[in-house]
Amino acid sequence: MTGFADDMAAAAVRTATPLLLAALGETIAERAGVLNVGLEGTMLAGAFAGFLAGYVSGDPTVGLAGAVAAGALVAAAFALLAVRARIDQVVAGLFVNLLAAGLSALAFREIFRDAVFAAESRAVRAVPFADVSLPLLDAVPVLGAALRQSPLSLAAILLVPATAYLLSRTRIGLVIRAVGEAPEAADALGVSVARVRFGACLAMGALAGAAGASLTLAQSDTFIEGMTAGRGFIALAIVIFGRWNPYGVLVASLFFGAASALQYRFQALSLGIPHQAFLAAPYVLTLLCLFGLGGRARTPAALARPFSREHD
């Protein structure tokens, strides 16, 4: 029984890691008033760049750095369009998704053409992060197993209080929230709305890139086309579920991670519940959550609204 609990806890944390990283980044961006529907593509770019850098260097840390850089680069392109040029944020996000899906698949097939054709799948593997176990916690039942993870998972968990502190206790956080709630007022106080939003986007991109790396350098050791498989959209849902609060985001990520881990168990048990029901659950729950939020939604007031100093 402890074996089952250990396995489930470990699987939940492992599955939750990319969701948590991406959702934390998106939380920062959304608190600054930027909705990035292109989170999926940003993750995918990180997954590919992380794999490529890890593969070439043979070092997962270099891979992670590549993923973070790629995520930030993609987010900078997004921010140029959505924050500087002020095109609709949804359109800019879709641009990121199309571009990342197209380019990553194109580059992967072109770079690894020979290996892929020869089906030498061993040839296109990177060295993944090794799991680490924490000295004292490792002995604690269930928790020890849950935390026997790649350093990326542990970093993701540590980033939760860090992000919460940043957003609620620091001047930077105050400015971010001001820009997301009342950009006109922030502007009147001399805050550069565009600069703050740009910075928030870079943080979002770096974290989404790391989320991608956790797919290619921790959960697996290779890149597969479209391997984010909707996780970026689940992360968007998690931000809503977690009510734009890092701790809420942690709980929602673990919940979705556990649901996804359970899905495999239930499939094996064949209880007559179609496994697609588990796969669809996060999305259905998000719709229900949106309904529950309703009029008193604590959505950042200026979310997805471009800011311009000129009068509209």
């Binding site: 909705l35 529907v37 369009l81 040029a85 002020r86 095109i87 609709d88 949804v90 359109v91 800019a92 879709l94 641009f95 990121v96 998704n97 199309l98 571009l99 899906a101 197209g102 380019l103 698949a105 194109l106 580059a107 097939r109 072109e110 053409r113 086309e225 909707g230 959209f233 968007l236 849902a237 809503i240 179609p274 697609q276 029901a277 796969l279 669809a280 999305y283 259905v284 998000t286 719709l287 949106l290 309904f291 939020l293 309703g294 009029g295 939604a297 997805a304 000129e310 509209d312």
Partner: protein
């Protein structure tokens, strides 16, 4: 005078877009060591080279025209329907459910039934976010995206272990539609089919609605400036609600046309993300239906050309996605700069 200048501007922008698409393809091909001249001629010949090839381009453009119209209708009312993909699937599911069972009915009954079911299916898929917006004022972007996944998994269930699974039970696909429920093809080689005139009529109707009717005026007014429209007595929430449902039903029709004329059965991964491409089509056409039709033709040609590039030179067809994304961003940039110029002119006049 202003009109002529506006037209000139649009033509210049269209030329820039085409050049940007060509440049994107060129840069990527050269970057990965392909001969761009050979590739360009393969691409162009595949899409436009012979009447037969052009017919294939039309076949690929047909669902894009219908879906692009669906997206444009929503966007014109400032309703961000990102759910065309799911609505397309929902339409195809409903069309298949009716079409497989329609064996005993004559085509004159079966085909309208299939289309009606698809329109209802698409509207149904659009209804959760539409109700959310109507009842709670919740923005529809996230909800429509969530529905894409819900419908995608529903399709997987229906075909893998649900009631739409083929009788043989071998593959995750449906049985073929009854012959009487299929849309006739004009030509078997290209599969050019009766869905094309249907698509054109649909687009024409949407264009006339938007440009010539009072309903269309209210629709556009709600999209341009919700507060001003509200002040003028237009029920903006209700307009948005209906816009999303109508958009969903048109997207559903696209699903029916594709399944009843081309694939004739449903399978997992049926949409292939075409509902997202449709957003690029609608925006490339600046949400104006005639231009959306041109954009659909362009993307249809791109699709055909990319597929033949893969066969001829092993260039991955995801090249097309990069071009779509580039055009999407550029056309949005043009639209935004146009809006700003218009605002400046209005301020200067005032």
């Amino acid at each position: 005078m202003t009109r002529a200048r506006g037209l000139g501007r649009e033509l210049v922008q269209a030329a820039v877009l085409v050049a940007a698409a060509a440049a994107t393809v060129l840069v990527l091909l050269v970057a990965f060591g392909h001969d761009p001249l050979v590739a360009a001629s393969v691409l162009f010949r595949a899409a436009f080279g012979t009447p037969g090839n052009f017919a294939v381009t039309l076949v690929k453009a047909t669902p894009l025209l219908v879906l692009g119209t669906a997206v444009a209708i929503a966007f014109r009312a400032a309703v961000w329907n990102v759910g065309a993909d799911g609505q397309f699937l929902a339409g195809a599911i409903a069309a298949t459910a009716v079409g497989v069972a329609a064996g005993p009915l004559p085509s004159l009954v079966a085909i309208p039934l299939v289309l009606a079911a698809a329109a209802a299916g698409g509207a149904l898929a659009a209804s959760p976010p539409a109700v959310l917006r109507l009842a709670r004022g919740t923005p529809e972007v996230i909800g429509t995206i969530m529905m894409n996944f819900v419908i995608g998994f529903l399709l997987g269930y229906l075909l893998e272990e649900g009631p739409l699974r083929e009788a043989a039970g071998t593959f995750p696909q449906s049985d073929p539609l009854a012959p009487s429920a299929r849309l006739p093809r004009f030509d078997e080689a290209s599969r050019l089919h009766a869905g094309l005139p249907v698509a054109i009529l649909l687009a024409l109707a949407a264009h006339l609605f938007l440009s010539r009717t009072l309903g269309g005026l209210r629709h556009r007014a709600a999209g341009l400036n919700a507060r001003a429209a509200e002040a003028a007595g237009i029920p903006v929430r209700r307009v948005a609600f209906l816009a999303l449902l109508v958009s969903g039903s048109i997207a559903g029709l696209a699903g029916a046309i594709e399944v009843a004329a081309i694939t004739r059965r449903l399978f997992t991964g049926f949409s292939g993300g075409i509902g997202y491409t449709a957003i690029a089509v609608a925006l490339l056409g600046r949400l104006s239906i005639p231009a959306v039709a041109a954009a659909a033709l362009f993307f249809g040609a791109l699709d055909v050309g990319a597929a033949s590039l893969q066969r001829a030179a092993h260039v991955p067809p995801t090249l097309a996605l990069v071009v779509q994304g580039t055009l999407l961003a550029l056309s949005a940039l043009f639209a935004e700069s146009g809006r700003r110029a218009a605002r400046r002119r209005a301020e200067a006049a005032a």
